[in-house]
Symmetry: C2
Subunit: 199 residues, 2 copies
């Protein structure tokens, strides 16, 4: 089986949420697995000079409209959370701790978190993260200890550094082997690339 494709996303990224709904199905259709890799766009932007879309003049207003339009076209519910953008460090650390136990559960966790944030438009708290992890069988105290573990903090930092080194400057950002694709609007290209190996 070919290498998994890499799916970089920030939990605070509406387009990451949009892509999360289809990426596994697209990859599976071509016999590929997907490695979900939450990152922190804030850290990326320090290197690239980028800034959150909604903070950019004119582009901000357009983006808010396009987030909803894009997600709904994909058949996903969409509501912006009251606080946006927000710091997604706890979400990402919780993900990597769960991934250390079971990668498939980490993916379910990510889906649950995204659903709460952009599907239901909620500000997600530490208690929400613990509840979603709890539904997957994880103890809240274990999760809290895991999230505070220096090894988990380092893991997240390493993933962000690797992403930047690979050229990731936004979310979602997907690699098929070494071919980079930026944006939920590249999913059809990704599907075709997996089918044809390029054009």
């Amino acid at each position: 089986m070919a290498e998994p494709i890499d799916f970089y996303f920030d939990f605070s990224s509406p387009y990451g949420y949009a892509a999360s709904g289809r990426i596994d199905a697209i990859a599976a259709r071509h016999g590929r697995d997907v490695r979900w890799r939450p990152i922190l766009l804030g850290a990326v932007f320090k290197v690239t000079g980028g800034q959150p879309l909604v903070a950019v003049p004119m582009k901000g207003d357009y983006s808010r409209r396009d987030f909803a339009r894009t997600a709904r076209l994909m058949g996903l519910p969409f509501t912006m959370p009251p606080t946006f953008p927000f710091a997604s460090v706890p979400h990402a650390r919780a993900f990597y701790w769960i991934e250390g136990q079971d990668a498939s559960k980490a993916r379910m966790f990510a889906r649950g978190v995204y659903q709460l944030i952009f599907g239901e438009g909620r500000d997600v708290t530490a208690a929400d993260l613990a509840r979603i992890a709890g539904q997957l069988g994880y103890d809240a105290d274990d999760l809290a200890k895991g999230m505070a573990d220096p090894a988990i903090k380092d893991r997240l930092k390493a993933e962000v550094d690797t992403a930047i080194a690979r050229g990731v400057f936004g979310s979602p950002f997907i690699f098929i082997d070494d071919e980079p694709f930026w944006g939920s609007d590249r999913l059809d290209q990704i599907d075709r690339w997996l089918e044809t190996g390029g054009w």
Copy 2:
């Protein structure tokens, strides 16, 4: 017949070139005409603080790859011109002068210019513009006088100002009535919007 849709683009925009290959056919399928409106992204960026994609760290390298990938997927030849980005003021002025004579010829002119720039990867000179206009039946001296006419200069300026007032911050930028769509990667959404009137 419903109002034409507005297709804003900069002659120096590879994604504008990509969209130019499909926009008329998509609109026609839904009984709509298209108003082609060349603008100057440089003037837009002065207002928005934007900058040419290729000048942005990391995003620049990705974009060069994505320009070609996107155009080729649409069945268009693609080669970057030696000089990029470039000032597209003459191209846009020539367009509006020809449009004053015949809107359909202006569109043919725009296609010819785009083909030379990104299809063949050429730095387009004033002589090239005159030659393409000449193939459409326009005299080189008339074109030169038209491009120097203050009314044509004002027309281009007015189009840019109107675009900015409508929220245009990139190229291509398309309006279906008042619904904005940014990017050649929104053509499928545009097709669907024209079909359904929204979702």
